[in-house]
């Protein structure tokens, strides 16, 4: 729509760049503009740092207009970004706006700091979430926190409900681990940290998805990712769910490989050798011939987990979740229908048990968990660090 003719009208009010605000005026404008849709972060008051997300720090904060309302604020780190607002943060925001479910962390809003000369007129952004008192890694690292079988069932049921919901919405979490599973003081579980999540499409014939396989914290990374699969799907999260489920009893991650190679070996030692026999197509994965794959390993999932898990249904479900072949691994729906959740003791509410613990438990704040290995019972020293009591009735440990 280029106007090649001279304008017919007399020059209108604005004509040249002289009408465009100069730098100073624009800075003033930005500073004064009251963005109607994006509140200032000063409406919250930071209380404590509670974690380190994929792209920034996380703080506990209190709404200034209500001393009872607590939120978690996740800072969007942009200092080292050459390409502006990080695409990972955009993804997380987009996904969180889509996902509204009781077992998925709730994004309340996105806040900003005021743009001033001091920050070169560039606001810092915070994602503001409903506050959750605990994360699962923090709870598991505290020996005083004891889960009954019914409570473990409740945790797993909520976790699988959350996964069922996000997978139905075509979202992969891609970073399942105990530290990303939050639990409120009322015992409601929330999947959190969608910083690595992405939408997936169901691969059609002749069309292959190419996702990065460098996702998921190593200890929770499924064998297909370790073997270089780039056309993966919801089963990657289900493997993580299996690792987390086992951890409910072992209290520390069950396979703590220091390298990708070692992780594969640990997986083979627990789940058996990765062969085309048990996993048709594994031989076609990119790294199948490049990684050292232990041969002749027998599958010992039930055998090795039994001393911890005891409940035979629990052992069986673990066996179904920790399947090497992603196609054989249970999906969330099937897992939820497993007898584990439908036999006595039935899943039971966590609120009562959590009521005995009035200290927020986050992995970030907890002392490092001992490197735990299956077969070795280990003891985690009880932590008895007093901390200031806050209005919420919870103590925040600040280091």
């Amino acid at each position: 729509m280029q106007n090649v003719n001279a304008p017919r009208e007399p020059a209108p009010v604005l004509s040249t760049s002289s009408t465009i605000l100069n730098m100073r005026e624009k800075e003033k404008y930005i500073e004064d503009f009251d963005f109607p849709f994006c509140d200032e972060s000063s409406k919250y008051e930071k209380v404590a740092k509670i974690g380190q997300g994929t792209f920034g720090e996380v703080f506990k904060a209190r709404a200034r207009n209500s001393s009872k309302k607590f939120v978690a604020m996740k800072k969007v780190l942009m200092d080292n970004e050459k390409e502006g607002f990080p695409i990972t943060a955009l993804r997380e925001i987009k996904i969180l706006q889509l996902l509204k479910h009781d077992n998925v962390v709730n994004l309340i809003e996105i806040c900003r700091t005021k743009a001033t000369l001091h920050n070169k007129y560039r606001s810092t952004f915070y994602l503001v979430f409903d506050f959750c008192e605990h994360d699962l890694a923090g709870l598991l690292s505290n020996v005083n926190v004891k889960f009954s079988l019914g409570e473990i069932k409740k945790v797993m049921q909520q976790l699988l409900n959350g996964l069922y919901y996000i997978h139905s919405n075509k979202i992969l979490h891609r970073d399942m681990k105990a530290a990303n599973v939050l639990i409120t003081k009322n015992g409601v579980l929330k999947l959190a940290d969608f910083g690595l999540a992405r939408a997936f499409s169901v691969a059609k014939a002749g069309q292959v998805n190419k996702y990065t396989n460098r996702v998921v914290t190593l200890w929770y990374r499924p064998p297909e990712l370790l073997l270089g699969d780039r056309n993966y799907g919801p089963p990657v999260d289900m493997w993580g769910a299996g690792c987390i489920m086992a951890e409910m009893w072992t209290r520390s991650p069950i396979m703590q490989g220091p390298t990708e190679q070692q992780q594969l070996i640990l997986i083979s030692q627990l789940c058996g050798s990765c062969t085309p026999d048990v996993w048709p197509g594994v031989e076609n994965l990119d790294l199948y011939n490049k990684m050292e794959l232990p041969k002749g390993q027998k599958r010992k999932v039930k055998e090795r987990l039994k001393p911890y898990v005891k409940d035979p249904y629990g052992c069986d479900l673990l066996d179904k979740l920790l399947q090497l072949d992603p196609a054989k691994r249970y999906d969330a729906d099937t897992a939820l229908n497993h007898d584990f959740f439908w036999t006595d003791p039935m899943p039971c509410d966590l609120a009562n048990m959590l009521a005995q613990h009035t200290q927020s438990m986050f992995e970030y704040l907890a002392p490092p968990r001992r490197p735990g290995h299956l077969r070795h019972h280990h003891h985690v020293a009880a932590q008895g660090k007093p901390a200031p009591v806050t209005d919420s009735g919870y103590q925040d440990r600040v280091f």
Binding site: E9, R112, N169
Partner: protein, 341 residues
């Protein structure tokens, strides 16, 4: 979530208007900004979804800020930059600027300031706050294909009609329609228009019930003829010579580095397609969906329209083909509607 639809009164009383810019001039700025996003995006092989998302950001942005405060071409670049990331087709900021520069006169490019990239970065934060991080935007394209799938009739004509409607949707980005109506409504209206112009008669459709007076009753309730005509006219106005003349250029153009692609103005808005309004305006289809392979790519203008080669699909596969088109139409990021639990 904010409500992004405005009535005509709001669209006349914009920040730019309150800042002394006439409605005609503002509409021209919007049109130029949108066209610039389309041109830049096409040159970078960005898909139609990314381009359309960028344009919607652009229109929304200027419901809160004046064109005097924020010159349109740098805003346009910023919108395209953000849309690229949101739609999972990211382009480097410096590359966008590199492609954009030759499309502008030196004078227009001077509004990018001394360090264009830094300007875009600063602007991105303002853009994000202005649009309330409401990143996911839906466009009429997907609905167009979904609706077409249900229509029965001569297949060649249907194909032609869909192509024409597609082009109208592209061009509708240069209007403020995306600030007035949901993508479903725009899709219906522009299919209606394309049907008229391409003489495609919708005799019957799948899913028809006695309650339906017209095919679109199946998809959107309460669409009146007045509404359809109003929407069609807003798009057709793009092709009428008068609207292209209003307002002065800001900054005035001394030379234009753009190809003089709009010199041939359509004498009228009457088909047949050889002189169709489509040909004159949509010199550059944003992106062509299809070819059997399934990748999207930019094509040289072919009678102005977008080629949807339904005819190449085997047998009874019009519907299957359209289905497939829809799936790439959603680009890499496709979230199905909230469901389950």
């Amino acid at each position: 979530m904010p409500y992004w639809y405005y009535d005509k009164k709001d669209l006349q009383n914009t920040p730019s208007f309150r800042d002394g810019i006439s409605n005609e001039t503002e509409n021209r700025y919007r049109k130029e900004g949108a066209r610039f996003i389309i041109d830049t995006g096409s040159k970078m092989d960005l898909g139609y979804n990314t381009v359309a998302t960028g344009v919607v950001y652009f229109h929304r942005f200027y419901m809160f800020h004046s064109f005097k405060t924020f010159p349109r071409y740098i805003t346009a670049c910023c919108c395209l930059f953000l849309a690229g990331k949101v739609e999972e087709t990211p382009k480097k900021c410096k590359d966008i600027i590199k492609v954009a520069k030759p499309l502008l006169t030196d004078q227009k490019f001077s509004t990018f300031g001394e360090d264009p990239k830094e300007e875009v970065m600063t602007l991105e934060r303002i853009l994000l706050q202005t649009i309330k991080f409401d990143l996911q935007v839906e466009h009429p394209y997907g609905y167009l294909l979904k609706y077409a799938k249900c229509l029965k009739g001569d297949r060649a004509k249907l194909q032609k009609m869909v192509q024409m409607a597609w082009t109208f949707v592209n061009d509708s980005l240069c209007t403020t329609l995306c600030l007035q109506w949901e993508p479903e409504v725009i899709a219906v209206a522009l299919m209606f228009l394309a049907g008229k112009l391409s003489k495609f008669e919708v005799v019957d459709w799948n899913g028809r019930t006695p309650k339906h007076n017209a095919w679109w009753d199946m998809f959107v309730e309460d669409i009146t003829m007045d509404l359809l005509e109003d929407i069609c006219h807003q798009v057709l106005d793009l092709y009428s010579p008068q609207t292209q003349q209003s307002g002065g250029d800001s900054p005035p153009e001394t030379s234009t580095s753009k190809p003089p692609k709009n010199e041939k103005k359509p004498p009228s808005i009457t088909p047949p397609a050889s002189v169709s309004p489509v040909a004159a305006v949509a010199t550059k289809p944003v992106v062509t969906p299809v070819k059997n392979g399934g990748e999207t790519k930019t094509e040289p203008p072919k009678n102005g329209g977008v080629e949807i080669q339904l005819s190449k699909l085997p047998g009874d596969a019009v519907c299957a083909g359209l289905q497939r088109t829809t799936s790439w139409g959603r680009a890499a990021y496709s979230c199905s509607p909230r469901s389950t639990a």
